[in-house]
């Protein structure tokens, strides 16, 4: 036991003396997550300027334009402006507005006269499909409001009032239409806050930390091979130290190093960038489980590689392969269904799903226990397989 502790301490000292492990396992994930945070930290916030082109020139259309342009509420994503009705497309081309709603000539007359109404046209910048969709919805709501008035007017005219249809006076229609204009919609949509948006840093920092941890941890696992080559392993063997001590000591060092690195990334991104990873108990548990899984995979890689250089290459492949399939490079939740399934076979995918559940879904330790179980199983399974391979070759 003491021998293992000594070997672990020695390994840790050696690794920390080489500053590249700190750069790789701590600085790199923080810097990269910060870049991602700076790129997406503002979050997606929709806003657009929409023009209204009044080709109708009627009191009704003027009222409509006035009502929209005069809108001045908080959190309204659209600013309406009146644009030149003679050339509405020019307003889009000159970027005065991203989209324009055109109220066509004869709109009001047809709307109040009971004939078919000419269509409302939306002209939108081809490069802004979402603004086009939202503007179309605004136009549809204007159309729906007009339709409601038309429907009420037509219904009133068709209503059998005391059996005498001529009894319907224009005043009655007007009153009814007025009532329709002021009527509240039967279905209203209320926007509520879903809570703080999930900080991309809280997702990408662990994602990147895991990617680079494969490299940092891999170096320790590979040191078994290089120590055998350099003869230090044989010298340790000559001492009254059980051969398992070396493996136990190195594994211990790797776990401590990995835990420390990822915890530092967590603490720094939380306090410096204010990224909320979620319930701390769950976060620490996931970190422990995923470090174990990465250490296990690294031992397996070392076990199956014949040379130092091969282990190096394999580590890179595994690190990037798992990061890619696990979704470390993708925005949370954007994985296509097939990839989402595949990702669960990687430690990165399991851990990222757990981190998202805790950080964005407000989950706690209980919610991520299954994922932690899978990660621990991955770590033990690959680790034992790797040790078996190493011992066959007399390294461990």
């Amino acid at each position: 036991m003491r021998a293992s502790a000594t070997i672990a301490a020695l390994e840790l000292r050696r690794r920390l003396r080489d500053r590249s492990v700190i750069i790789q396992a701590v600085v790199a994930p923080i810097v990269i997550a910060a870049i991602i945070g700076a790129a997406f930290g503002g979050g997606f916030s929709f806003s657009a300027t929409v023009g209204i082109a009044d080709q109708d020139g009627s009191p009704l259309s003027a009222e409509l334009v006035g009502a929209l342009v005069g809108l001045d509420e908080e959190d309204v994503p659209i600013t309406f402006v009146a644009v030149d009705p003679d050339d509405p497309a020019a307003a889009v081309r000159s970027e005065e507005a991203t989209a324009v709603i055109v109220i066509p000539d004869g709109f009001a007359e047809a709307a109040t006269g009971g004939t078919d109404v000419p269509p409302l046209a939306v002209l939108a910048d081809a490069g802004s499909p979402i603004t086009a969709d939202v503007t179309t919805s605004v136009a549809r709501r204007i159309g729906a409001q007009v339709d409601l008035s038309r429907l009420v007017a037509a219904s009133v005219l068709a209503a059998p009032v005391d059996g005498d249809e001529t009894a319907v006076s224009p005043e009655l229609v007007e009153v009814a239409v007025e009532a329709a204009t002021n009527a509240v919609a039967p279905i209203v949509v209320e926007v509520t806050e879903a809570g703080e948006p999930y900080d991309p840093i809280a997702y990408f920092a662990p994602g990147m930390a895991m990617l680079f941890l494969f490299f940092a941890v891999g170096v320790s696992a590979r040191s078994l091979i290089s120590e055998r080559r350099d003869g230090t392993l044989a010298r340790i063997r000559a001492a009254p130290v059980p051969s398992s001590s070396v493996v136990v000591g190195k594994s211990g060092a790797v776990l401590v190093l990995g835990m420390a690195a990822m915890t530092t990334v967590w603490v720094v991104t939380s306090f410096v960038f204010g990224a909320d990873w979620g319930d701390p108990v769950a976060v620490v548990a996931i970190i422990g489980a995923v470090v174990l899984a990465i250490a296990g995979v690294s031992v397996a890689v070392t076990g199956f590689a014949r040379t130092d250089a091969q282990a190096d290459g394999l580590t890179g492949m595994v690190a990037f392969g798992f990061a890619l399939l696990g979704g470390s490079f993708l925005q949370p939740g954007t994985m296509p269904p097939l990839l989402a399934q595949i990702s669960l076979f990687t430690p990165n995918g399991q851990a990222l799903r757990a981190f998202t559940e805790v950080g964005a879904g407000g989950g706690d330790l209980l919610d991520v226990l299954p994922a932690i179980g899978v990660l621990v199983a991955m770590g033990l399974g690959t680790g034992l397989a790797g040790l078996a391979a190493l011992s066959r070759r007399g390294v461990a």
Binding site: S20, I36, G43, P119, G127, V134, P186, V189, G313, F320
Partner: protein, 396 residues
């Protein structure tokens, strides 16, 4: 003995180094397999319904009315609808911004609507502005669905009709009424980077990423050349330092060109990417290969060991790629990040590719980009050569 001609020596150096690189089979994974896999994975994730608002819906009512609303949302081209069964799931997706809004249809929606009561739908959103935009889109649909109910209630209140009579009257009248139509017309050309081919942005961005990252990796070979004493043995031969430098540089340059040609070919053949005018494509490939060459030589000249080159090189390459728009288009990041991004050669290379692939530009349109890249590459090569020359002469 006369010294062999310079060109012959340089060619021999190139041949030897290329053989050393190609013998490393794990290296081929990074050069051939990884770029293609990344292009496929990233391309697949950005292919989904561009230009529609991703919206989540949870139908807790499951009545005819709620199902009609869900069906109408699903049929709307402005909405990319995802259904949820669990409110926590929906909230998590809203917080990770996978959906811009989470619409909850409460229990009793259909019954309340039938009873003439106003019903409120709550739309969860992480950002109030975007939530309002999504609410506008949903309201266009609910207004249309609710207009008959609304008209009937106006008739009941205004004319004193019985509820059933009013509803019958409205649906009779509505049958004859042609609703106001909304037409959508786009102005200009879509400059969106996903466009018709989702690989059209991913292929060039990975070309830039991998030419750079693998140039750094080949830079690691240079460290071996120095460490193993290959460089010193070359110096012992009747060859000038200049010849060795030319040979070493030419190897890296050739290598970057091969990597570029591979991705251009794969992009064209597998993903149908139209790279643009041949001469301009060649010029851009050559210019960025020069940048890769310079960066690789510099790492090879400065780094003390291969491990250091890897542990610092990979994070730096990933960070530069992110800043330069290889992981996401720079058009979606804040202005300050666009400025910072253009400190990297990557951003200039991406500008060039965007001009060639999306804007149909030619050699003249990317003159500025080519100039910046050549200046960048040239400066890197010169600095690296100077450092390398000193190291070779000093024998370190």
């Amino acid at each position: 003995m006369t010294a062999p001609p310079r060109a012959q020596v340089a060619a021999a150096i190139v041949g030897t180094e290329l053989r050393r690189v190609s013998r490393d089979r794990t290296g081929l994974f990074f050069i051939v397999v990884l770029p293609v896999v990344i292009i496929i994975v990233i391309g697949a994730t950005i292919g989904a319904a561009p230009g529609a608002l991703p919206l989540g819906v949870l139908d807790a009512d499951r009545s005819a009315a709620s199902e009609a609303l869900v069906a109408a949302l699903d049929a709307d081209p402005a909405v990319d609808l995802q259904r949820f069964d669990d409110l926590e799931d929906l909230r998590q997706q809203v917080r990770t911004a996978t959906v811009v809004g989470g619409l909850e249809i409460p229990e009793g929606f259909g019954a309340d609507l039938g009873a003439g009561e106003q019903v409120e739908l709550s739309l969860q959103s992480g950002d109030p502005q975007t939530g309002q935009a999504a609410a506008e889109v949903v309201s266009a649909i609910t207004d249309e669905l609710g207009s008959r109910l609304q008209a009937a209630s106006v008739l009941v209140d205004g004319l004193g009709l019985a509820e059933d009579d009013a509803e019958q009257l409205v649906s009779r009248t509505a049958g004859d009424l042609v609703a106001v139509e909304v037409t959508l017309e786009t102005v200009g050309e879509a400059a969106t980077l996903t466009g018709e081919n989702q690989y059209a942005y991913t292929a060039p961005s990975n070309l830039v990423l991998f030419v750079f990252i693998n140039s750094l990796a080949v830079g690691g070979v240079l460290i071996e050349t120095r460490r193993l004493g290959v460089a010193r043995r070359m110096m012992a031969a009747p060859i000038t330092v200049g010849t060795i430098l030319v040979g070493t540089g030419a190897t890296r340059f050739l290598f970057a060109l091969l990597q570029s040609v591979l991705i251009v070919a794969v992009g064209r053949l597998l993903f149908d990417v139209r790279w643009g005018e041949t001469v301009a494509v060649a010029a851009l490939v050559v210019a960025f290969s020069l940048v890769g060459t310079g960066a690789g030589l510099l790492v090879g000249a400065v780094a003390r060991n291969a491990e250091q080159a890897q542990s610092i090189g990979i994070p730096v390459a990933v960070a530069l790629a992110m800043l330069g728009g290889c992981m996401w288009p720079l058009e979606i990041v804040p202005p300050a990040m666009v400025v910072i991004g253009h400190l990297t050669p990557h951003a200039w290379a991406m500008n060039g590719w965007i001009a060639l692939i999306f804007e149909g530009g030619g050699l003249r349109d990317i003159a500025l980009e080519l100039g910046v890249l050549v200046a960048y590459g040239g400066a890197l090569v010169v600095v690296a050569m100077l450092v390398l020359r000193r190291r070779l002469l000093a024998g370190t």
